[in-house]
Amino acid sequence: MKKSMLPNWVPWLTFLLLLIGLFFVQELKIQSAIVTASADPKTEVLISLITNLEAETAALEDRLASIRQETEALIGQAATGESQLTELQNQLTQAQIQAGITALEGPGITIQLDDNNSGLTSSPADDPNRYIIHYENLLYLVNDLRNAGAEGISINGQRIVVSSEIRCVGNVILVNTTRLAPPFEISAIGDPKALEEALASSTTYQQLSLSGFPVSYKTTGSHSNNISLPAYTGSFSTKNLTSAAHEEAS
């Protein structure tokens, strides 16, 4: 080693140490950048997020409280509203039953009627009209059953309702504008005993029976099969009518 000259290692080591210092500071900068990048904005975002969520929670809790109060009030109303609804539904069901637009089931009587074909063949010279069932027969029988308190009546699957007609067009009987052909079966729901008595005292039935028509009836006992009536499938014309009660109500 000579004092006037620098040793040969000085520039190399100086260069390497300069590199170390440079790299180290850059590394520190990067690390601090990573730390600030990963922590600082995130933290602020999270803090604002938490604040917002807390405010939201408070608002939702307020709403929940008011909704609970509302619910309690509604439950109080519902108690009355539910009974009203049930009553209205009962009324509706009753009205539907009375209108005849629902199928019904119950005890009652079934009447079988047919034309007097054997009588007609045994006396061919006679008037054939005397040996067939006419619409009047059915109409009167239905009326007799109604008198006896029948709650629902059908003829050959046609339900008799307030607008039902029993009439004759030519040689066919129309019920609910549906053509019916013999044999006829009249079903009626009601007190079987009363209906049977009504039939026994019915002049129409007596007359048909005495004239040799094949008529019979069958009542349901307390344990035997119920009579089932079909629903009225036709329409009710309301073209010209308006409810008078509706005007009063309004």
Binding site: L18, F23, F24, Q26
Partner: protein, 125 residues
């Protein structure tokens, strides 16, 4: 006071790094830290070679560059394989740094003791 010149170089590097800002992407941080370790290893190896009187500047620089490149390659490979392979370079550099430091300490201490003739008296004590 020739020792002061490399130390001044270190300070200059720190100052330079503080003033200029190399726009190094964040993903390069790992490679930069390995470069720092490689440079530190080379410096201590160089100092050791000074004491062993076989210092060669070119060998020192080429060793630094090849070590740094190998370490960077290991780090890159580790990134691709999702294995921390750069830890191998960090480990090797760390071990070598400690070995070089202990050797340097040995030489420094022995030369210091030789200068002041202390080892003989110490041995007699």
């Amino acid at each position: 006071m020739v020792w002061l010149i490399p130390v001044l170089g270190l300070l200059a590097g720190i100052l330079l790094g503080s003033i200029i800002s190399l726009q190094i992407p964040l993903t390069m941080a790992k490679y930069l830290s390995i470069a720092v370790l490689a440079a530190l290893d080379s410096v201590l190896g160089g100092v050791r070679c000074i004491y062993e009187n076989n210092f060669n500047g070119l060998i020192l620089l080429s060793g630094f560059i090849s070590n740094a490149l190998l370490a960077a390659f290991l780090a890159f490979l580790g990134d691709q394989l999702n294995v921390d392979l750069y830890m191998a370079a960090v480990f090797v550099f760390g071990v070598r740094i400690f070995q070089n430091l202990s050797a340097i300490r040995h030489y420094v201490l022995s030369s210091f003791l030789k200068k002041h003739n202390l080892h003989a008296t110490q041995r007699k004590d």
